[in-house]
Amino acid sequence: VSPSAYEARAMAEALFTPDEQKKFDQDLAEILTHYPPERKSAAMLPALRLVQTMKGWIPPDGLSLVAQRLETTRERAYEVATFYVMFHTKKPGKYTIDVCTNLSCSLRGAESMLRYLEQKLGIPAGEFNEHVYLRETECLASCGTAPCLQVNEDHHESLTRQKLDALLETLK
C-alpha cells in the first residue's frame, strides 16, 4: 500500500460510527463521575486514551468528539494529544515498539538492540510502516531488568537476542 493510500484508508476508518459513539459515551460517562461536575475537561487524558483504545490512534474525528463531549475546544484537545508521546495523532503501524535507550539500558546493550531491531524490521528508528512503528523512548522505569522495550504498551524486560527473536515471531 502506498503511503497516501494508507493515509486515505486510515482517515476513512477513523470516522466514528453511531455504535462506536455510543460505546464512547458510555465509557466516558463512568470516567466523568471521577471529577467535579464543573470540571469535565479534566477527563481529557482518559478520554483521549479511550479514543486511542477504540481506534488505534487519535484521528481528527476523535479530537472533535472529545472536545465536544468535554465542553472544550478542539485546539485544547489537540494541544494535549500532541504533548504526550503515547498519544498517536497519526495512525501508526499495527505494532508500536518503544525501545528505551536511556543510560541504564544503554549500559546493558540497548543501543545495540535498537540497531538489531532496525535491521530485522527493515525500518529506521523513528519511522513507521503499516506493520510496525519503531521508536526510541525515554526511561521506562525498568533499569534493573535492562534492556527493555514495550510493544503496544506491553512491557518486555531482561531482553536477550533469543528472547527478542521469540517476541518478534509473535508480531505478525
Binding site: 471521577h34 470540571r39 479534566a42 485544547r76 504526550y84 546493550g109 545495540s112 526511561c139 512491557h155 527478542l164
Partner: protein, 444 residues
Amino acid sequence: VTPFENLITRNWGKPGSHTLDGYRKNGGYKALERALQMQPQEIIDAVKKSNLRGRGGAGFPTGLKWSFVPKDSPKPKYVAVNGDESEPGTFKDRYILEYDPHMMLEGIAIACYALGAHAAYVYLRGEFKHPAAVTDAAIGEAYAAGILGKKLMGKDFPLDVYLVRGAGAYICGEETALLESLEGKKGWPRLKPPFPAVVGLFGAPTVVNNVETLASVPHIFEMGPERYAALGPEKSGGTRLVCLSGTVNRPGVYEIPMSVTARELIYSEQYGQGMPEGRTVKAVIPGGSSAPVMTAEELDVPLEFEALKNIQNMAGSGGVIVMDDSTCLVRCLWRVARFYAEESCGQCTPCREGTPWQTRILRKIEEGRGEPGDIEILLNVVQSIAPFPPIGLGNTICALGDAAALPTHSFVTKFRGEFEEHIRLGRCPHGDRPWGHFGTGGFE
C-alpha cells in the same frame, strides 16, 4: 540500634502479596485502624515526629508538607499520588504498585483522613499498564471490602480513590505539572508560590506525595513514630528503597537502612554483589540522572539525604547508576543530556533552548568534532540554565532546568580529562564500544 527489618518490601515475593487477602494476612490495614482512633492533628504530628521525608526526589519532610494545608479552607481538599516514576535509573514505585499496592492505599487513606480529603487521585505514568491494572484491582477490592467508599473502614468519612494514567511525559512527575495533567492539560509546571498545599488541584488545597512516601506511612502507625524515626539518622526516618542499575553484578531494588553507603550497595553480597570480573567503578549517579555524578573516591557516603547534601549531591529518587572503567562518560552524559532536551516542556527559554544546545555540543565532542573552547561553551550554557553553586536555584519555573544542568556540571568538573581527550584525539577513545562491559548486550 534497632535491628534492620524490611518494611516496604516485606511482602514482595509472597504469594498474593498484591491482593487484599495477602496484605491482610501480613497485618495490613491495622495501621489505618489505629490511625482512625486518633485526631487528624495527632496523625500529622506523628508523621512529623517520624522524620519521614519525601521519596520522590526532593526529600521534603512529609509531616511538614501535610501541615501546610489550611485547616479553615471552605474548599474541598485533595491528595494526589505521584506515580509518574520517570527519573532515569528509578524503578521502585513500579514494584510497590505491582507487589503491594494496598500498602500505598493504606497510606493514602491515612493521609486523606488526616488532611480531611475525601478524594485522592493516583497518577501513574502512562507506560505503567500492568502496574496500573494491579493497582486498579486493589482499589476495587478495597471498595468491595468497605475500606474505601461511603465510609472509611466503617468510620463516617467518605473517601474515593481514583486511578489516572498519564500518557508519556517526564515533566508530569513535577508536582505542579502533575496537577495540570490531572486537570486534563499538557504538563506545564506552575509558578510557585502558591504551593499546592494552598492552591493545588482544581484550585483547592492539595498534598502531592510519592508512591513510596505513602507506602511508608502505615509503618509509622504500626511501630510508632519514635521507633520509625530511630531507624534512620537524625533528620530522616525509616528505611528507603534504592534502585541499582548499570554495570553491576546484581541490579535491582533494595530496601536499605540509611547508613548503607554507595560502596556497600554495589559490593555487598546482600545487594549488588560487586562488579563484573576485571571491572572497577569509574562513576556512580546516586539519585537518578538529575543528581550530580560521583567519582569512585566518593563512594563511602551513606545513601541518605543529609549525607549526600553535605557533599553537594542529592539522594533524589534513589536511582543508583553504576558506570565501569570501560565506559565512555562523554557518551553517558550525551545520552542524559538528550533525555532532558526531549523532556523539556518548552515553557521557559533557558531550558527549552539550553537543553538541546548542550546536547549538540556533547554530540560534537563524542563524535570527534570537538574544538578547544567547547567545554567552556558547554559550562556557559548550563550556567545559563541553572547558575551553580548552589543547587536548585535555577533560571526556570521548575527543577527540570537544574536537573539538566547538574549532571553536565558535575561530569565535566569531575572528569574533565575525558572530555579534553576526546577533543585532543578527535575521536572517542573507546572507539565503537562506548558503552563498555555489557554495552552490546549480546546483540552484535
